[in-house]
């Protein structure tokens, strides 16, 4: 009888595993390598030369990380400046497609614009934008109906490692971006 109970318990545990809520942010495709950074177990999804692509997600957060390693110091500022300029371009006023006499420009209302912060640390440099993204995890969501996640776009340069960490963080609309940012270090 005891054995039957044990078997039932094992089956139950197995089934609990089966019926666990589905993962909010996607599926794990490649579970070969896990790299722990800032308390997150990132999964290495792709490696191309000195660039590594990593992912982390759970029920509440999704993080996309690109590590650009072995960068020559003279290129660091240019790379970061280019990435900041490209991100900023999403929030600049631009001409409307199919415009007319009274349909001219689109500009993101202030309340939806990305907010930019930068900080120099003793071992590197941290630049980041706090912004809203849409259901496809895209920055540039500038109307109520498009907003799905609170997000951060972070460029962390670590001098000692010659590495730029390009991070896209997505949390629900109540998440605390600062809490995430405060975890980041070299």
């Amino acid at each position: 009888m005891k054995w039957s109970i044990y078997i039932l318990i094992i089956i139950s545990i197995f089934l609990i595993g089966c019926t666990k809520d589905k993962i909010v942010f996607g599926e794990i495709k490649n579970t070969n390598t896990i790299i722990s950074l800032w308390d997150y177990p990132f999964i290495l999804t792709q490696s191309e030369g000195n660039i590594q692509f990593l992912n982390y997600f759970d029920d509440n957060e999704k993080i996309e990380l690109i590590m650009i390693m072995d960068i020559k110091k003279e290129y660091v500022n240019e790379i970061i400046s280019d990435k900041i300029t490209m991100f900023n371009s999403l929030y600049q006023e631009h001409e409307v497609s199919y415009s007319g006499q009274y349909t001219r420009y689109i500009e993101c209302p202030d309340k939806f614009k990305a907010k930019y912060y930068e900080r120099v640390t003793k071992d590197g440099k941290l630049n980041y934008f706090a912004y809203y993204s849409n259901s496809n995890y895209q920055a540039g969501a500038c109307s109520e109906d498009l907003i799905n996640f609170k997000s951060a776009y972070v460029l962390l340069y670590c001098d000692i490692k010659n590495t730029i960490f390009e991070i896209k963080y997505y949390g629900d609309l109540n998440s605390n971006i600062n809490k995430f940012i405060s975890k980041l270090n070299c």
């Binding site: 039957s4 089956i11 139950s12 089966c18 371009s89 409307v96 689109i106 496809n136 895209q138 109906d145």
Partner: protein, 667 residues
């Protein structure tokens, strides 16, 4: 014993839960059929504005006649038929439908410019060409997550890039990165400036696409012989100055300017051009967001008259590292293919004012086709993507331009303005354009293997445009729209506070009996309903001088999903479709004339595609699992292509998809 019973019950509950969950997963994720061969690579070519219908633009017949040999090969290898776009039948809406398998009601891209509550009507809140506008994921996001590598070339709705690891090359008008446009420089002339009016600017009021130049006195450091007083110009192209000297090289004691010299430093000649001649590509530096961007221009001396009147076009390389992701691909493409001529002309069109513009148009169109053909070959060989989506805007540009559609489509009011011989020449030019598309398909067929899908489709066709309909002049006449004229610029300025009704692009009418000033919130009151009904009557009764009815359909916002598949939250209070031959126009003018004859002769935006065959497009698909040489009898919907492609790849069809798998083509 009791504990045991509880455990049994508990386990049974879990078992039921587990089973039902398992069943749900099985329904969502159908297993692949083992005996079926699924496609593993896809090339999806979607030329913009490639009209195809059973009557006038029957490209399948043209293919049978030998005019489009590669399209014929593709038809023989696969299945083919016509596609009906969704309304509004323009680029952003239909590309979003192609890539999501859903109508605007679901994907949210209801127009180019879109307005939502809480923002002023004067400023659209969402750009339909931006990838951010979509509310559901496109095919590349879904399949990239499943491990497919993508290349997106000039695809509307693909920027800002959504691909994480793939290649996104210059999505059109996505409001991201450094996008440079070709510019025309013309001798300042009040008459021409008036004719061009605001249409000279990109999207009417942005960067000027035609700039009017007054000659200046500039000292050059080299001696240039001219038998009339040279005309010096300083042509600014995105922060780079190209010094230009217009000269007279004939010693005949007459003023007859015939050449122009171009230089970046007033010392070294970059080009010496006469009318109709082109330079080579010239390296220049553009300025954008405090960055210097190395690029290229190619100069076309479109027109040079004896008296010194000039019209010069700087065709701009459309590639740079700030419009491509990853950035390195820009240099790789420039080195492998050359500077990019993405498409001919622009919106609004500039190459429509002089007869010489037509020649310039055709030459530039040829350059864009050649670039895209070579780029397709380069991308196949260098990047070998699993999924390659490729758009070229040039067909739309040709069919909506001044020179062709109005004179070859018998439904146009201008059809009889040319002789049969002239019409034959125009048809030959249009067929040349289709042949160029055929050449690009040929590149793809060469790359096919037994696991490749090749697809040719498009977003919309085009119908002749005979008259602009200035709806806002109509509302002003009715006292529903108020405006004043800016004395300095002559530009009409809307008095939003006292305006109760306004038409805004492309098919929306906004109504509020209390005025439309400030942040727009949709009105709702008895007065609102009365006014809305009044507007419906005004539009229904609108006729032109030939007593033709202009309105084709009018739908209230709350009925938009049911009758037009449009979302309620991104449309005006009324949505209006116009009859073929007409096109809605926002313009307000002092004379309050409602109808105007446009220079351009093609249009597509507010036409109902289900009722107008000219809006239809082709659909040809060949590859594993597809019947060969099979013609689809009834036209399919634009939303059917996505689920069919997913089926042929053996992938699950997302729940948001509204289209059907075209199962009659499946083997």
């Amino acid at each position: 014993m009791k504990l045991f019973k509880y455990l049994i019950i508990f386990s049974l509950i879990l078992l039921i839960l587990g089973c039902s969950k398992q069943e749900q997963i099985e329904q969502e994720e159908l297993p692949l059929e083992l005996d079926k061969v699924y496609a593993e690579k896809v090339y999806w070519f979607i030329p913009d504005g490639m009209r195809a219908e059973p009557d006038l633009f029957n490209i399948f017949r043209w293919a049978e006649e030998g005019k489009l040999p590669n399209i014929k090969r593709l038809m023989d290898m696969g299945s083919y038929g016509f596609t009906i776009p969704t309304f509004p039948s323009h680029t952003p809406t239909n590309f979003a439908s192609l890539f999501t398998g859903a109508y605007p009601e679901v994907h949210g891209v209801a127009d180019g410019p879109m307005r939502v509550e809480g923002n002023p009507l004067a400023r659209p809140s969402i750009g339909g060409f931006s990838s951010v506008a979509k509310k559901v994921p496109p095919i590349w996001t879904i399949l990239e997550e499943q491990g497919m590598d993508f290349v997106l070339l000039s695809v509307p709705g693909s920027t800002p890039p959504e691909l994480r690891n793939g290649i996104t090359i210059r999505g059109r008008w996505g409001g991201w990165g450094a996008d440079f446009h070709s510019i025309i420089y013309e001798k300042k002339s009040t008459e021409q400036r008036k004719k061009l009016a605001k249409g000279s600017r990109l999207f009417f009021l942005g960067k000027e696409l035609t700039q009017f130049i007054e000659p200046t006195r500039t000292q050059w450091n080299i001696n240039i012989e001219s038998f009339s007083k040279p005309l010096d110009l300083e042509l600014d192209i995105y922060g780079s100055i190209v010094y230009t000297k217009i000269i007279d090289t004939t010693n005949d004691k007459q003023t007859n300017y015939d050449k122009a010299i171009f230089s970046k430093d007033k010392e070294n000649k970059e080009a010496l051009l006469g009318e109709g001649e082109w330079s080579n590509w010239i390296p220049v530096n553009f300025k954008w967001s405090k960055k210097d961007i190395g690029s290229f221009i190619k100069i076309n001396m479109i027109k040079l008259e004896d008296n010194g009147f000039f019209r010069i076009r700087f065709v701009v390389n459309n590639l740079n590292k700030y419009i491509v992701e990853p950035a390195r691909v820009s240099d790789e493409l420039i080195q492998g293919v050359g500077p990019m001529v993405d498409f001919v002309d622009n919106f609004p069109p500039q190459l429509i004012y002089y007869p010489e513009d037509k020649k310039a148009f055709l030459q530039e169109a040829g350059m864009s086709f050649e670039w895209h053909r070579q780029a397709a070959d380069f991308i196949f060989k260098e990047y070998d993507p699993d999924f390659f989506i490729h758009n070229i805007y040039t067909p739309n540009q040709m069919l909506t331009s001044r020179w062709w559609l109005g004179y070859i489509d018998p439904s146009s009011a201008r059809y009889n303005d040319v002789s049969e011989t002239e019409r034959e020449v125009l048809w030959n030019q249009v067929e040349w354009m289709y042949k160029k598309l055929d050449d690009i398909i040929g590149e793809a067929i060469e790359q096919m293997d037994e696991k490749s899908l090749v697809i040719l489709s498009s977003d919309h066709g085009a119908t002749p445009l005979d008259k602009w309909v200035r709806l806002n002049n109509l509302f002003a006449k009715e006292g529903l729209l108020k405006f004043t004229i800016n004395k300095e610029t002559g530009e009409p300025i809307i008095d939003w506070e006292n305006t109760k009704v306004i038409y805004l692009k492309m098919d929306n009418i906004y109504i509020d009996p209390n005025g439309l000033e400030g942040d727009w919130i949709r009105a709702s009151s008895q007065d609102y309903e009365k006014l809305r009904d009044k507007v419906i009557i005004i539009l229904d009764e609108l006729r032109d001088d030939k007593d033709n009815k202009i309105l084709s359909k009018i739908v209230k916002w709350e009925d938009a999903p049911e009758f037009l598949d449009l979302p309620k939250d991104r449309v005006g209070d009324l949505i209006v479709a116009n009859a073929p031959g007409y096109g809605w126009n926002e313009e307000v003018t002092e004379d309050l004339q409602i109808f105007d004859i446009p220079l351009k002769t093609g249009y597509k935006q507010a036409i109902l595609p289900k009722e107008v065959n000219a809006m239809w497009t082709p659909f040809i698909i060949a590859g594993p699992g597809v019947k060969q040489g099979f013609m689809i009898k009834e036209p399919i919907s634009v939303v059917d292509q996505f689920p069919t492609i997913m089926e042929l790849l053996g992938k699950n069809i997302p729940k948001h998809v509204q289209g059907r798998v075209i199962d009659e083509i499946l083997e």
